[in-house]
Symmetry: none
Subunit: 200 residues, 4 copies
């Protein structure tokens, strides 16, 4: 009804998108507010209408950056297909996503670096990965209950799986020619699911 559309709701993602591209290109420290403004097509001062500081932009980006992927995992619990199939599909989609968004990978590592130094950021990521692990563990439990694979320590296996994905992403980023993301991920996933010794 208001003659002016809510411009805030429009600007904030617009700026965060620009920040994503600029930070991906230059890193947090090298990126200038000027660069982000230009990339977003607004004036530098306009950034400060929506974010209190450069750190505030980074903090907002943190929340956006790690939000993706969790809903999808949650949805898999409702699916009718076998858990093993779900996981394979999920793995494949994550790989595709990784390739598509390779340009922003460095941002993730910067966030990990900050997390290692700052409790607040660490806590945020801790929570993100806790939800992640819990979701994955629930899915594994479902698969075990359905008899798809031997019972396993779901929490620990979930941790291993996530660690594996994060680690593989690293290895692939460094050496895409030598690391076959899909094949290695799926193969290792398969091994982790079949382990007979775990039930011991």
């Amino acid at each position: 009804m208001s003659p002016r559309p809510d411009v805030r709701a429009q600007r904030i993602p617009q700026i965060l998108d620009a920040a994503l591209r600029v930070f991906g290109r230059s890193g947090f420290a090298q990126a200038r507010m000027e660069d982000i403004a230009q990339e977003a097509g607004v004036s530098k001062a306009a950034l400060y209408l929506y974010f209190a500081s450069k750190d505030d932009v980074i903090a907002a980006l943190l929340r956006v950056y790690f939000a993706r992927g969790l809903e999808e995992l949650a949805a898999l619990r409702e699916s009718d297909e076998p858990v093993r199939v779900s996981l394979m599909g999920w793995s494949r989609r994550r790989s595709a996503e990784l390739r598509a968004e390779a340009a922003y990978l460095s941002i993730g590592y910067e966030f990990f670096a900050v997390a290692a130094r700052q409790e607040a950021v660490r806590q945020f990521l801790r929570d993100v990965y806790r939800r992640y692990r819990a979701e994955l563990a629930a899915l594994l439990d479902k698969g075990a209950r359905q008899g798809e694979f031997p019972a396993l320590r779901a929490e620990e296996t979930a941790t291993s799986m996530i660690a594996l994905f994060e680690g593989l992403a690293m290895m692939w980023m460094l050496d895409p020619a030598a690391v076959d993301l899909d094949r290695t991920a799926e193969h290792t996933l398969s091994v982790l699911l079949n382990d007979p010794g775990v039930s011991r």
Copy 2:
């Protein structure tokens, strides 16, 4: 004109050590040459007698930071003990090291972030991890030849193992209370080694 070799040999590690501590605390960007000088107990100008620039300090640190662990792995190939035992010991020592040097973890992530943006750094780390994988694959081959575990795709398994370790380190950094580094690492290692499906 340039410092006498013996003084150089003393100052350079002294400065790199200081840089390690300061970067660990503050990150590459926030750390000031002044801070490093102070931590090293020399004047700011003295840094420039041994390093051409801040980037040069960081580059030198890169070479030091990722050098550790490789010789140890190489040594294991000569060992008489079973490969499985070697690997478990190696895993345990890596965990201990991680805990001991947690304060410098953020530096590693900063290097990954830089690697994702700069080909030169990426290439350096690529080579490091290639040597790493090759060494580990050789060890796995040895174990398979000795009949300790079924034949496996050594390269791929090596990649998985390293990815797993790097990923677990991340998870532990974020959530040390929830991630039992030793147990998860050893358990996953064990699973990866025993996989019967792999031999197919």
Copy 3:
């Protein structure tokens, strides 16, 4: 196109009042147009409907700030009471006013500072104080003619009296506990009026 006169007549004092409070709190330089707008309960842009610039607000305030007191002094010339009594009453009222408006004192000093640097402002204040002195001198003349006190150099004594009041205000602002405004003012006034040597 321009605001209707009645709205103008309402808004302008509303804004100047707000400016008075904000400038008193923060000083000309620190005060932001935003602050004044908020204090006045209007939007920042609205200020610019009534004032061309921040300097314009300050200029308008200058005219208001130093307008007070002169009419009162003029009125005393018409009074029937002895001049000495008039002056004492006037002194007392000025002291009361000072105490009541202590919060705005800093504005006056800022204006003096600007006057010392800018001829235009200096000229304005010069005129204000000339009228002030003339009025006071006329009153002193009246008192002398009525035989209340010995003839005196009226202009010079008026200057001294005003200087004394301004200076006392300063001393009191700095040290209200140590400077008894009323007592010192009245006492000095009395001395200045009685001086027998002046008639020489």
Copy 4:
């Protein structure tokens, strides 16, 4: 003994002198650190070697600005000449000083403005003027004891004298043509000293 003369002791007054000139010309707010640096013949960054911030420069200037004149007053107490003569000479020298340093007058008013807003600055100036009053009161006591003039309320008269001087300075700044600094000051001084009513 040090090959380099203590450059700090040289730079600080050099910068404060420059600041005095620039602030006198432009006021605290309009003056840019760049201007001060240029006036002092150093780089902007050099200012920050000696002063932590612009406010710090201003604070240092405050201490210098109001330090003058007190020692001279103290010295008069030791003098053999009659107090009345001392005071007249002092008055004349203060007037001369005022004329010589008229360019910096606005700084004083800015300090008064700040004092009116900030307790810390107010306290500093309070102390300055307390010492000032005390010194002057002691001198007046001496004169009264020597029988030069009737006994008077020394503290109060000192306050009046200082107020008078400060106020006259203001009036003169605004209207040098109309205010005869020396004559008015000396005349009023004389009146204040002779007052017979005060002893009552």
